[in-house]
Symmetry: C2
Subunit: 906 residues, 2 copies
């Protein structure tokens, strides 16, 4: 005959399909020597038979009785025995955990007679009656289908009658009365008396568990989470002996962690209560004691607890979160599961458990979720006081920051220099605000998405940023912002949380990031395990320094245009753009040359001997010019000023009065107007309909070769200076927006010419690489052609995603992407999680074609996906050489790279 | 011994490598029985030997003498014989034609003695002396390296001395004098007398031909045109008996075509001169006669000519352009080559030669270049008077048109209704100008490229358009335009040529298109030969009618947004966009529904039983709104108006006068301002950074499902009405901008729901197809997913090219693409010629993936490349089912599709 019931000592701890997750666990715990209260599991197969035949399988109850007899033998108690009653719990348990599926029935086996036995055993009449009335209600509801409200109404009636507000005010007599009333409720509702026979109780409970599998809650849950019969089919029934921690001073109840889940320290952590049940902790009647006190209070029991802890870790190789009860000096382990810990604890326990030999290095690495590392690398808000957010925006750059509101970059710089902490608040930011970013603790904008200027620049700098907080209306002229009823004036203190997108009034304390010794160790292991190298995107010497601190082995993306935006350079850049001919443009570029050279020299030196990949100018040059509208407004204002001034002068003159000067001469105003008009004309000339797909990248390098020439010269001259200074600089020149090998050949020819010239003039030999961004679809398709000239590729997956999807990121994120994700058309935002189907196919094609021509082609990724763990795994899978991401994400990427190598194999 | 010299009767007419192109032709002509003046070819191998050894191969001149003897036998003349001299021409000829490589030496064999023989033979002393002095100069220059200027100086001296201005004024005596002076020039320059020995002349000439192969002109030419030794190595020498058409009234010279190259008519065409040499025609001394006059003037010779013509066509199976000379009643054919003809003649001759059995149908089809058909389908300018263009723009939509300038669409409509022909002249056009397009003959803009609104709409309508004529400054407020010094006022007549981009002042006559019976026949053959079907892009019933006339077998792209732009609909569309909620939006859509249904019903009916593919709304909705700047300007103006009016009222009131009304109440102005402000706010809200990649296509359909629902309902209700009317409508619903199968599933669900409803309410069964545009890269990559829902694909290669290249077409064509093409980085504009490498790879992928899921998937192309012959061949090669292009290009595409099938095979 088919075996349908397994004692915990019999069942296969790995067979969750047959025994359910909980049942299998109890079997495993029992068999590894933990003192689990005796019990047994009725299989999921029995459940399916029951559901198919609409009746319990023949012989099942006989098998159950046999196992109950075993429990009686093990405990010395008897089921239904008024003198020394055996009580059990009955609960469901399928292969997959389905939280809240069916309530557990506790204390099954209680009736009028056995209640007396329980009271005698515990010496606690109130507890006994309370346990009984709880059993009746739960059994009534779960197994007999009596509505909860009927019981609640009786309970309230007694409380009202007794004149007490809280349950705790009820005496044993009240509770006994409630029990009787509950029995009457069941009798009225079901038309039958509450079953006094304990086996009848048990059989009804087993049927109820089986039935629950097809109940609405369970069916909905399985549909909602797409659980197929393949994954879980039917539920098992767990029948477990009840144990009581309230049987005297040699009894107790408690919960514990095998290590400290807050710090990861290797010390038992938890709380216990002597002579108490779990409910007492929940009810808050008594305050539990920290577990270490047990060592002095109950040393023998504490020794048992320590032994339990050791067994748990030795078996599970993982920090355990366990529940236990001590009944009359005997420790029972009721439940154990992997402990949930914060990132710091995960890191520390990983390193320490590995050192202790409990887990391997690979396991230590795989235990820690790379994304969680982020917690450790940015200050985060201490929200233990549950502050109410003032507004909600997009989490655009992680980290938290408090400071005074300022509404323009100049003010930010002014206050910042004066040592104030400030938050730059703008409708949106522009390149000319860059000095404000340097001065501010964080940036808050009311418009723009996760790739708005503010977001991208802040991420690059590792500063907190909340973008697109649309509830805030910023009026920078009036120097204030309003959020509903609240008005923020300049100088008011706010706090932003770039990890959640929340904005708070006032200063919320922050928790500083910890880059602990344990983290350093774990990351060094990660570097050994990984195939992918991790570099950083960094545009300044400061960022380069930070990148090295975070363990980047090079700079994978150094954006030269960021350097153009520095406040001392932007005017020269504008001069260059306004130049009417090549000669004047070259004159302006000659001024920029020493500035860029100096930047490069500093960055190369800081990063030596690691490579620094310099990307030549990428954005359309109109991005460096002011906004068309503001410029037109300014011109209007100046014209009006001039008209008024003229009118005033005329009037005074007519009155025969001397005309006073305004301090601003007519000519000066006219000159300013003329200059601004010239600028406006240029802005209009350069206007593009789709700047993302416009005159940018190498297209600029082809049409205005003098710009690229200046930049290449700056890189190579800086490299020459490094060689002269004995610094092992490793520069790489990278060309953006390439679509065809012919473009690369043009730029390469320029590079070769300049190299010869600079090697000759400096008398040194330059060592550098020349490569291509791969960020257009056509570059992927013609990657073989590119690889004939390029010595390395770097995927720009931001642009590549835009091109592959025909989605402009900012337009998409503001207009339709939320609805696409919300309605399930897309699972993820492809700008955050690399689209393996589309963009991934392009990348794979580029890798294959590129390496078909140049087998040792180095290939990296420098788009934002370079810091995303799932995307990193894909990059490892297609054989990339490195990923490059913003400096603060470097540790995340290093760990993710190790995961990728371990999970992808090879 | 190696044979180095071939008589024309011996040489292999196909062996151009050995005999050169010209030599092989002469051999072929001789051997097919044409009476070619006797001659022989010295091989290219002999040339290479000469160049390698720096001397003539041993025995070569002996072989030449032997062949000269044969010529003497054939002609009865003798080389160097003063009584009856044999004269020859010597010319080069390599395997590839290299025009103007070396001048031909004529009349070789003349000297003091033989000159007298020539004079006797021709009875023309002046001719004899002229021939002699020409020979001395040519031989001196070509074979002896005497600079031309030396001869010219002598010539001018004599002319001066004789007091004549033109050569024709010189007498025989003068010419004899010139001959003597030329001989003296040669003697002075070379230090040797001019060779009198005719074999010496011949040998020198042969060496000169061989040497010319390594001359600077030849070497440069071969480098310039990348001619490798593989293609042409060494030159042959052709020695041909001179024949003279000026030996009396039984002699003549002429040129002819075997058929009329202007009309294609099967009649001999050409001119002749009795008793004349070719030079006489060139000198313009006498007017040649049309060839048909020869039939009466010289019937016997005419009969010979007719025989020649028949032999030529019978052998070459192609219209021939030939030269002949009649010497004393004997017709010699000097040269023949394929005749160059205009498109009309090509079509007619193709059809007729096929009918005559001269060529096969396949040959008839392949003879005609599809691109040339365009000439036949648009009116073109009669520029025979060489008018001077006023300005130059981009050829944006082919055809020519004259009319009065108008500077806005309303005026265009007004004048157009009054029967005036008008040209709409704008800086650029917007959707609200659409009624002006209907009314105008053509469109001229000073801004925008080949995909500007003006260009695209004009092409769609088949109207002439010149776009981006930057030399023109349009001031639509002042109602004038200036081009340099010229000012165009409204009503001035101009002519635009959309095929060249030229703009002219005044009316230039146009030549109307001819859709001849021959063209119809040729296209019907094309349809039989082609695999690809040809459909048209058409958005209106008028365009549908035109499409059928041009032979389209369906509409491959019916853009519903064009219907939105009609002047009676745009206000409703704006109302729909401004709707604050779904309810009001639906109310506006309810007004659009009957309009769209009516359009569809008309188009389906016109096209039945051919399919009509309706594309659901594609452009971002902000395209239907007015321009932000103009709106802001209008609001400013209205506000100022209100201020002035208020001030005036206040002033009048203060003076105690009654305030007059302005006719526009304060409230009315305020209401207009408020409405415009609401519109402006919406325009700003909908603003997109990269509209090409923005909130458009199916993304609108997902976020505003009510818009797509209205359109689908309009299609299906129109289809139902057709069924009720017994019309075999074949509608197809097409979804634009798709990136993922999930999008299609959403729209398909909507379609299915509406179908059920409409089938039920109309009591009919609807038959239609549902498909997807493939115009994003991701759609190509996930085409298998798309094909699970889509029953057909249509490639939108305009957008796909933009996405693949990351080039915004308008920005690229205005900013950097010209330089890319000019500097050789790109060979073609990828928006005109399908980029087979990049876009082609995406298309191929989509075809393979799509058909892997649905083998019978119908796949077409509706981008502009659908009308480009080279691109059509690619489409045929990857197995597309159809191409769709603008109606006037349908004939081009039909022929190109036949070419593709014939050339691709299969």
């Amino acid at each position: 005959m088919k075996k349908r019931v397994y004692a915990f000592s019999e069942g296969d701890g790995k067979n969750k399909r047959l025994l359910g997750g909980k049942g299998a666990n109890l079997c495993e715990m029992t068999q590894i020597g933990l003192n689990v209260p005796p019990g047994f599991v009725i299989t999921t197969e029995a459940c399916l038979e029951y559901l198919a035949d609409k009746k319990l399988p023949a012989g099942l109850m006989d098998e159950v009785r046999e196992h109950m007899a075993r429990l009686e033998r093990a405990t010395g108690k008897r089921f239904g025995d008024p003198a020394n009653p055996l009580l059990v719990s009955v609960r469901s348990g399928s292969a997959l955990s389905m939280p809240g599926m069916m309530d557990t029935i506790l204390n099954l086996g209680l009736n009028h007679d056995t209640l007396q036995g329980l009271i005698r055993q515990t010496g606690n009449e109130r507890f006994g009656h309370d346990a009984y009335r709880r059993f009746i209600q739960l059994f009534g509801k779960v197994a007999l289908g009596v509505p909860d409200e009927l019981f609640d109404a009786e309970f309230e009636a007694i409380k009202h009658q007794a004149g007490v507000a809280a349950d705790i005010g009820l005496s044993a007599v009240h509770l006994a009365d409630i029990g009787e009333r509950f029995l009457a409720v069941v009798r009225r509702h079901t038309g039958k008396p509450f079953p006094e026979d304990v086996y009848e109780q048990l059989e009804i409970a087993i049927r109820a568990v089986f039935d629950s599998w097809m109940g609405k809650r369970a069916v909905d849950y399985r549909r909602e989470f797409h659980i197929t019969p393949d994954q879980a089919n039917g539920t098992a029934v767990n029948v477990v002996t009840m144990v009581f921690g309230n049987m005297g001073d040699d009894s107790a109840t408690g919960v514990g962690f095998t290590r400290n889940p807050g710090t990861g320290e290797n010390e038992m952590f938890g709380e216990y209560l002597v002579n108490a049940q779990g409910e007492d902790v929940v009810a808050g009647i008594r305050t539990p004691k920290p577990v270490h006190e047990m060592a002095t209070e109950m040393p023998a029991l504490y020794a048992q607890l320590v032994e339990l802890r050791d067994k748990l870790e030795a078996h599970y190789h993982e920090v355990q979160d366990f529940e236990y009860t001590i009944e009359k000096g005997v420790l029972y382990c009721l439940q154990t599961r992997n402990g949930k810990m914060n990132a710091q604890a995960m890191v520390r326990t990983s390193v320490e458990m590995c050192r202790e030999g409990l887990i391997t290095r690979d396991q230590a690495l795989l235990r820690v979720n790379p994304a969680h590392l982020e917690q450790l690398l940015h200050p985060c808000l201490d929200t233990s006081h549950n502050p109410t957010p003032l507004a909600q925006g997009l989490p655009a750059s992680p980290g938290a920051a408090s400071g005074r509101c300022v509404f323009d970059a100049d003010q930010a710089e002014l206050l910042g220099r004066a040592g104030e902490k400030v938050i730059l608040v703008r409708e949106e930011t522009k390149p000319e605000d860059i000095h404000g970013f340097f001065a501010a603790q964080g940036i808050l904008t009311s418009r723009g998405g996760k790739t708005s200027h503010a977001a991208v620049v802040a991420r690059g700098m590792g500063k907190a940023c909340v973008a697109g907080a649309e509830g805030i209306r910023v009026d920078s002229r009036a120097r204030l912002a309003t959020v509903g009823e609240v008005t923020l004036h300049e100088g008011d203190i706010i706090t932003i949380d770039g990890s959640t997108g929340r904005v708070y009034l006032g200063a919320i304390p922050t928790i500083a990031p910890t880059f602990s010794e344990h983290l350093r160790t774990l990351l060094s292991w990660a570097d050994e395990a990984a195939h992918l190298k991790v570099k950083a995107n960094a545009d300044t010497p400061e960022a380069a320094k930070e990148a090295r601190e975070f363990g980047a082995v090079g700079i994978g993306l150094c954006r030269t245009e960021r350097m153009f935006n520095a406040s001392d350079r932007l005017p020269v850049v504008v001069e260059m753009i306004l130049a009417p001919d090549v000669e004047e443009r070259k004159a302006a570029l000659d001024k920029l040359l020493p500035m860029q050279r100096c930047d490069f020299q500093a960055i190369f030196t800081l990063m030596a001997p690691y490579p620094v990949t310099v990307r030549l100018l990428d954005p359309p040059i109109h991005e460096f010019l002011p906004d068309e509208h503001s410029l037109a407004d300014e011109i209007d204002a100046l014209r009006q000023f001039r008209r008024v001034a003229k009118g005033r002068a005329a009037a005074l003159s007519a009155l025969g009065q001397a005309v006073e000067t305004d301090g601003v001469g007519e000519d000066a105003v006219a000159a300013v107007i003329a200059r601004k008009e010239r600028l406006l004309a240029k802005v209009r000339e350069l206007h593009e309909i789709n700047p993302m797909l416009g005159h940018r990248g190498v297209r600029l390098g082809i049409t205005f070769p003098e710009i690229y020439e200046m930049q290449i010269r700056a890189v190579l001259e800086a490299a020459a200076e490094c060689v002269e200074a004995g610094v092992a600089a490793a520069p790489e020149i990278m060309v953006p927006q390439v679509v065809d090998g012919a473009e690369l050949e043009r730029v390469r020819a320029m590079v070769d010419r300049l190299r010869q010239e600079i090697e000759a003039s400096h008398g040194v030999r330059l060592d550098f690489k020349f490569g291509s961004m791969v960020e257009t679809v056509r570059a992927c398709v013609s990657a073989d052609g590119l690889a004939r000239t390029a010595e390395f590729f770097s995927f720009g997956t931001n642009d590549l995603t835009q091109a592959t999807w025909s989605f402009s990121r900012e337009d998409a994120e503001n207009k339709f992407l939320p609805q696409y994700i919300g309605s399930g058309i897309l699972e993820d935002n492809p700008f955050e999680v690399l689209d393996v189907v589309g963009v991934g196919a392009m990348m794979r094609m580029a890798v294959e074609k590129g390496r078909s021509v140049r087998p040792d082609l180095e290939i990296g990724i420098c788009g934002e996906h370079g810091g995303h763990p799932g995307s990193i795994r894909f990059c490892d899978g297609i054989g990339l050489s490195y990923v490059s991401c913003s400096a603060p994400r470097v540790p995340v990427a290093r760990l993710a790279a190790a995961h990728a190598a371990l999970l992808n194999g090879g």
